[in-house]
Amino acid sequence: MSEARVEQQRPASGAALLVLVGLGIAFALLVALLAAAKTHSGPIYGEANMLYAALVLYTGAATLYMGYGVTGIERYVSAASLLTVLGFIANTAAVAHRWSVAGRPPFSNMYEMLLSFVWTLALLTLIAERVYKVKIIGSITMPITVVSVILMQLLPSDVRPLVPALQSTWLQVHVTLAMLSYAACAVSFALAMMFLIQDNMKTESFQALTSAGMVAIYASILLTRFHAGALGVTAYDMESKSEVMVSRGHPLFIQIPDLGWLYLLVLLSALVPLALYIVGQIKKDASLFDVASKGMFITLMLQAAGLAIFVARVKNGQYGAPEADGLYSTALPANPFLLAGMVGSIVAGLLYLLLLWRREGLQRMMPSADDLDRVTYKIICIAFPLLTLMIAAGAYWANQAWGSYWSWDPKETWAAITWLVYAGYLHMRITRGWKGRRAAWFAILGFAVVIFTFFGVTYLLPGLHAYAAG
C-alpha cells in the first residue's frame, strides 16, 4: 500500500525545495540572533568566532544535504561536502583554541563535551561520505550538529578551572571514549533508520515512530516540569552567570504560569497521529493515515509556537517559585534539557516530512538495504569496544578519585544498560544471525538508551524527584 502512495507522489517540485531552503534560512536567522545576543570578543581566530563560522558553514551544509535529500541533485552534495570540510576546519580551530587557553582537552562540562561531539560527528559524516559513499547521511547528522552548536551558544562557555577531582588523565580518556562511542552510536542509529526506509517500512509506521518520539519528549518534559498549569524552569542569576541553588545539587525551579497547559496541548496533539495509527492498525482502516498526516502538521505548528512562546517568556519576565520568596529570572542556558527536547522534536518532525514528500527519491539515493544493514553492524562493532573501554576508564577514574570503581549511581547504571543493549545486539547478530529489521530496531533502541544516558539521567531523573514532593 505504501508502494501505491510512493507512485502517487509528485515529482520533485520547486515548492518543496523552497520550503527547505526557507527553513534553512530561518535556522540561520535564529542562529544569528542567538549569536548577536552573546558578546563576541577576542581575536578573529578565537574560539567564539570560529565556532560561529562553523555554525554558519554547518547550517549551510545541513540545508544543502537536505536539499539533496529532496531533489536528488548531486551537485548539492559536493557543495555541502565542501561546506562541511570548511566548517570542520573552523570547528577544529575552535577546539584547538579552547584547548590551548584551558591547557587541557575540552571535556569538562556540557559545553565542551558538545564541542567535541560536534567535531566527531562532522568527522564521521565526512568519513561515511568519502570512504563509505553514504552521501545522504549528512542530511541526518548535519542537522544534529547544527542543533548541538545552537545549544552550545546557550550554554555558559567561559573556561572554568578544574576542581581537584576532575584533574585526571583517566577522566579525559573516559570522556574522549564516550564522545567517540556516542557519535558512533548516533551514526548507527541514522543508518538503521535509513535501513528501515530502504527495507520498505511503511511511511505511516515512520509517522507513528516520529509521533512516539515526540510524545516521549513532551511526556518527560511535563512529567518533571508541569506544576498546576505552570511550567517549571531553572532560575538563573544573570550577574553570577549561574543557576540559583536551593541547596547543594538542588536548583531552584521557578514557574512560568500557563505555559504548562500549552505543553499539555502539544503533548495531546503529538499523541493524535500515534493514536490514529494504532486505531488504524486495529481496524485496518488506511484512511486514518491521511487524518494522522494532518495531525502531524498541526502538532509541528503547535510545537514551533510552543518553542517561540517559551523563548519569549524566558527572555522577558520574572517568575516566582513555591519554595522561595521573590521573583527570579531565568535564561535559555539554564534549560538545555527543555530546549534540546523541543528542538529535537521539531527536527524529527521535519525529517519525517522529508520522508513523506520525497520517499521515492530518497530511496533512489540511499545505498541498498543489505549494505546499510552491514554498515550498521560494522559501526556498532566499532562503537561497542569504545563503549566498553569508556566504562572501564570511568571506573578506573572513580577508583582513583573516590576509592570505588562501581557505586551504581544512575549515570553508571545507565551506561551499563547501554552496554547491555549493544551487547544484546551483537550477541543476537553473531549467534542467532539476527539481521535486517530486528537488528535495525535493536540499533534504534540502543541509541534511545544512549540519549537517555546522556540527557535523561542528568535532567530527567533528578527532575522526577524534585517534583515528587510538590
Partner: protein, 486 residues
C-alpha cells in the same frame, strides 16, 4: 522425581542461552528501576523523606527497592547469570573444541554440497591444478596443506583458527569482573576518617547501606603531618594535599603526600584525599594580658597543649577549651563541637609552681576581671588546626575486575576483528569424463570480507587456468562488488 532428573532439568535450563538472556534482561530492568527510585546508599536521607510518604517508604524498604543493588535477590540474580554463563560455556565447549582440534581437512561430497561459497573450473592436469591452488592461496596469506583421504588428494587452508575462542575470552572476562565485584561485596569495606593536623587516628567510620554507621579499626594509625589547599584566582579549589605517615606497632612504616586522584596504597588498603576543613579545636589561642597594676596589655599566644611564659617566671596555659558552653549548677558544660559560644579555662602558674584557675566566658565577659589574679586576660585570637578528610577503602576484588577488563578488550578485538576462514580444494569428476577443480570456503563471521577475498582467489585461479573469458567477466564483476562493499 530423582535427584539426577532434577539436576538434569536444572542444568538444561541454566545451560540455555535463552535463560542467560532472560536473566540479564531482568537485571537490566531492575537496574533501571534502581535509578528511578531513590537509593539509600547514594541519596541524602532527607531527600528520601521528602520524596516519599511514610507508607510508601515503608513498602519500598520492605520490598528492598530502596537498596536494589545490595539486595540479596539482586546479587542472587547476578550469581545465577554467572552460573548460566559457565553452564552455557561448558555446554558449547565440545563443539568448539572439535572445530579447533579436529578440523575437517578434506571436503567429502556431502560436505562440498553444504558450503555456501564454491567454484568449479574445468582442468586437464590434476596435479598442476592443485599446485596452482597452493601457490595462489599462499599469495593471499594462507598456509595451504595437502591432505589425502581415501586415495583422493585435496588442499586445506585456514587462517586465525584461535578466533573460535573469542567468545570464551569475553565470557571469562565477564566472570572475572563479577567475581571481583562479589569478593569486594563480601570482604571489602569503605569508610572515612577526619584526621586533624598533628594527630594520629586508626579508626574509620563505615556507612552501611541503610544509612547506619559503624566503626572499624585499621591495622595501622594514620598521622597527618600537614594538609593544605590551593585555590584558583576565582576562589574555587585547585589542589588539596595531605602529608600522611602510617604508624604500625609504634613504628613509622610508610609516608606519602597524597592529592586527589593520587591515593596512598599500603597493604591493599587505599587512602584517598576526599575533603579538607578546619577543625573546631584551636591550635593556639592569643590573649591580651594586662597587669593588675596597670599598663599596656601584652599579647600572649598559648598552644592548646602547652604553655607560654609571662614575666617574673610566671606561665600561662589553657586547661580547658569548651567550644559551645552553658552553665548549670555553677559548672561549665559543652553542648556542641562548633565553636559558637566558647569558654576557656586558663591556668596561671607563678614562680613557686602554684596554679590559679581562671575562666573566660566569652559571650558574657571577655575578661578575667574580678577573679583575683595578678593579670587580667582577654581572648583576642585563635588559630585553628586543619583536618584532612580521608576515604579509606579495601577492595581486594578490584584486581579481578581490572584483569576482566583487559581480557574483555582482547576478547572483543578477537571477536570483531579476526575470523576463522577455511578453504578447501580438490579435483572431482564432472560426470562427462572430464575433470573439475573444485574449491569452496567458509568463515565464522564477517562474511562480506571473506566473500570479496574468495572472489579474488577465484579470479586469480581462473586467469591462471586459462579460463580467460570467464575470468575477465568475473574480474569486472568482482571489482564492482569490492567497490560497493568498501
Amino acid at each position: 522425581m530423582g535427584l539426577k532428573l532434577i539436576w538434569n532439568k536444572l542444568y538444561q535450563t541454566l545451560a540455555a542461552v535463552r535463560t542467560g538472556i532472560f536473566l540479564i534482561i531482568i537485571v537490566g530492568v531492575f537496574s533501571a528501576i534502581g535509578t528511578v527510585i531513590l537509593q539509600r546508599p547514594t541519596s541524602e536521607p532527607a531527600d528520601i523523606q521528602r520524596t516519599y510518604s511514610p507508607e510508601t517508604l515503608m513498602w519500598l524498604d520492605r520490598l528492598g527497592l530502596t537498596d536494589i543493588f545490595h539486595a540479596w535477590w539482586f546479587l542472587l540474580l547476578l550469581s545465577l547469570f554467572c552460573v548460566c554463563l559457565i553452564f552455557v560455556s561448558v555446554d558449547h565447549w565440545p563443539n568448539v573444541w572439535k572445530v579447533y582440534s579436529k578440523p575437517v581437512r578434506f571436503a567429502e561430497s556431502h560436505f562440498r554440497a553444504s558450503l555456501p561459497r564454491t567454484v568449479k573450473i574445468a582442468v586437464t592436469d590434476e596435479a598442476g591444478a592443485l599446485t596452482l591452488v597452493e601457490r595462489v592461496l599462499s599469495r593471499f596469506g594462507f598456509k595451504p596443506e595437502r591432505v589425502t583421504e581415501n586415495g583422493a588428494t585435496g588442499i586445506y587452508a585456514e587462517k586465525q583458527r584461535f578466533s573460535v575462542f573469542a567468545v570464551y575470552l569475553v565470557h571469562l572476562s565477564l566472570l572475572c569482573i563479577f567475581a571481583g565485584y562479589i569478593v569486594d561485596g563480601i570482604v571489602g569495606y569503605r569508610g572515612n576518617v577526619s584526621v586533624p593536623e598533628g594527630q594520629a587516628l586508626g579508626q574509620i567510620t563505615l556507612r552501611d547501606n541503610r544509612g547506619g554507621e559503624s566503626k572499624k579499626t585499621l591495622p595501622f594509625l594514620i598521622r597527618c603531618d600537614g594538609a593544605g589547599e590551593e585555590t584558583y584566582a576565582d576562589g574555587s579549589p585547585k589542589k588539596w594535599w595531605s602529608k600522611l605517615v602510617l604508624i604500625e606497632n609504634g613504628k613509622e612504616v610508610a609516608a606519602k603526600t597524597i592529592v586527589v586522584n593520587d591515593p596512598f596504597v599500603y597493604q591493599g588498603i587505599r587512602i584517598y584525599q576526599s575533603s579538607m576543613g578546619q577543625s573546631s579545636t584551636p591550635k593556639t589561642l592569643t590573649f591580651a594580658a594586662t597587669a593588675a597594676a596597670g599598663g599596656e596589655p601584652v599579647m600572649v599566644e598559648v598552644p592548646l597543649n602547652g604553655k607560654a611564659a609571662l614575666a617574673d617566671g610566671e606561665s600561662l596555659s589553657v586547661l580547658r577549651w569548651v567550644p559551645d558552653y552553658y552553665v548549670q549548677d555553677n559548672e561549665v558544660f559543652n553542648k556542641s563541637d562548633e565553636p559558637e559560644n566558647p569558654a576557656v579555662q586558663l591556668g596561671l602558674t607563678n614562680a613557686k609552681g602554684e596554679t590559679k584557675k581562671l575562666w573566660i566566658l566569652y559571650s558574657k565577659l571577655n575578661s578575667t576581671k574580678g577573679q583575683d589574679a595578678p593579670y587580667e586576660f582577654a581572648l583576642k585570637n585563635a588559630t585553628w588546626a586543619k583536618f584532612t578528610g580521608l576515604e579509606v577503602s579495601h577492595q581486594p576484588g578490584q584486581f579481578g575486575v581490572w584483569i576482566g577488563v583487559v581480557l574483555m578488550a582482547f576478547g572483543l578485538v578477537i571477536a570483531f576483528y579476526t575470523q576463522h576462514s577455511r578453504i578447501w580444494a580438490t579435483v572431482i569428476e564432472d560426470g562427462k569424463g572430464g575433470k573439475l577443480l573444485w574449491m569452496g570456503g567458509t568463515t565464522n563471521k564477517n562474511r562480506d570480507r571473506f566473500q570479496a577475498k574468495f572472489e579474488l582467489i577465484k579470479t586469480a585461479l581462473q586467469e591462471q587456468l586459462g579460463d580467460g573469458a570467464a575470468a575477465k567477466a568475473k574480474q569486472k564483476n568482482s571489482k564492482e562488488k569490492t567497490l560497493t562493499q568498501a
